[in-house]
Symmetry: C2
DNA sequence: ACCTGAACACCGTTCAAGT
DNA sequence: ACCTGAACACCGTTCAAGT
């Protein structure tokens, strides 16, 4: 109810675009993206809703801004990793980067949805993808293969896969799917039942039912291994790279 | 302005859940999902907004309903394909099914977003995935591998990949990205520039910038080939299947 | 320069009331 | 049984006005 103590800046320090965006991130982190309204945002900052429009053009720009903050957090985190010891190590390097990005996203579960809703591409996202592309390109992949790679990875490059169904209702705890399956769906959906019965998705870091950590890594490795094979095959056909 | 002639049913045939949902689909098809409001929906049916609530519980149920319609369209289309000549042909069969699903989705560009927004899984989606899982399972893949496969495919199984950025703004025509890149971003994003310059995404069936047909098929084949390799390796380790 | 009050045009939804 | 009018509680946003 009462406005929480802001992160160091007092409630009556003058507003700024930065302060607005940071407050927006923390609201989304705590209450989900649906709870982020202009009026709620103003309240968090101890101000009237209309005051926000002096610092941001409209809500869409707020969403652009909070995506930027999160992706910049990813870029910072990924920057600490540093270049691979050898460019030929591109696969491990890409893998590490993507899993680091995912870790950041785990702290902002609303971010995947908002990132996908943005129609323009933010500089931060461009920077991320450019660096990732660079890793592949310097690793020796052709420009064409790098292009395909970016498309094949898609949102996985940023560390998430949008889940198709999330039976536990996003942030809330719901009824156990396995139980439902066991109870009544066994003969209507025999193959799904078999799968759900054998699986234990519990207790893992997750961005939704279809995006638990081990499945994310499985899919990621499937793609990275595939790219490596395609690259090796191309190398074989046109052998001109120096032996290490 | 004036209500268009409905698809065979006149404007004054009594309302029904079915008529409401079909009108909703056609509004979304024509004006995008944002244009689908309860008031607009009522207007399309020549009725007051409040009348809708007699036939559907709330807007969320409308969204559930239109997803169901689209996925049932997919199931119908995919049902025409029939079983593979041999279960061992699972890869081709799965590929054909998924590309057929994609074709249906091409007629409902709003559907991917709404499908992902649904928190519960519709029977139609369960049926689709169960059938797809069955193809893999009957093809000889282990239950575990089928499970991984479903996760790895994710939304690709239904025929789409959610695009990360869509510089041409969804349904509208926008400025050419390649031109922007050429103009000013060449040295800030060298690798991306190289990729965009070499690419021509034009004139193809598309669900967004990152989801054109050839890239979709590239990613799909990467995953299917990877699954096949994992399966063959497992078969080799435990060789007990009959020779064809 | 920075913030606000009042108001507008939209939402989804409820509920008592009409036929 | 089926539809409606009036109203409510929310949105994002504008604009003239305050300090």
């Amino acid at each position: 109810m009462a406005p929480r103590a802001g992160s160091r800046t007092d409630r009556h320090t003058p507003l700024s675009k930065d302060r607005v965006l940071r407050a927006a991130v923390s609201i989304a982190d705590e209450g989900g993206i649906a709870s982020l309204t202009m009026r709620r945002l103003a309240q968090e900052l101890g101000v009237e809703a209309m005051s926000l429009y002096y610092h941001v053009a409209d809500k869409d720009k707020v969403l652009d801004g909070i995506v930027d903050i999160v992706v910049n957090e990813i870029n910072a985190r990924v920057g600490e990793i540093g270049a691979p010891s050898s460019p030929a190590d591109w696969k491990a390097a890409v893998r590490r980067r993507i899993l680091a990005a995912r870790e950041v996203l785990l702290g902002h579960p609303w971010a995947p949805g908002v990132i996908e809703s943005r129609t323009n591409m933010s500089p931060a996202v461009l920077r991320y993808f450019d660096a990732l592309g660079g890793l592949l390109r310097e690793g020796g992949l052709s420009a064409d293969l790098v292009h395909h790679a970016m498309h094949a990875l898609g949102s996985r490059a940023l560390g998430f896969t949008q889940e198709l169904f999330d039976p536990n209702g996003g942030d809330e705890v719901g009824p156990d799917v396995a139980a439902i399956m066991r109870a009544q769906m066994a003969d209507e959906y025999p193959y799904l039942t078999e799968i759900v019965m054998g699986a234990s998705h519990n207790g893992e870091a997750t961005l939704g039912w279809c995006d638990d950590q081990v499945e994310f890594e499985f899919g990621l490795d499937l793609i990275l291994d595939g790219l490596e094979r395609l690259h090796d095959r191309a190398e074989l056909r046109r052998p001109d790279s120096s032996a290490s």
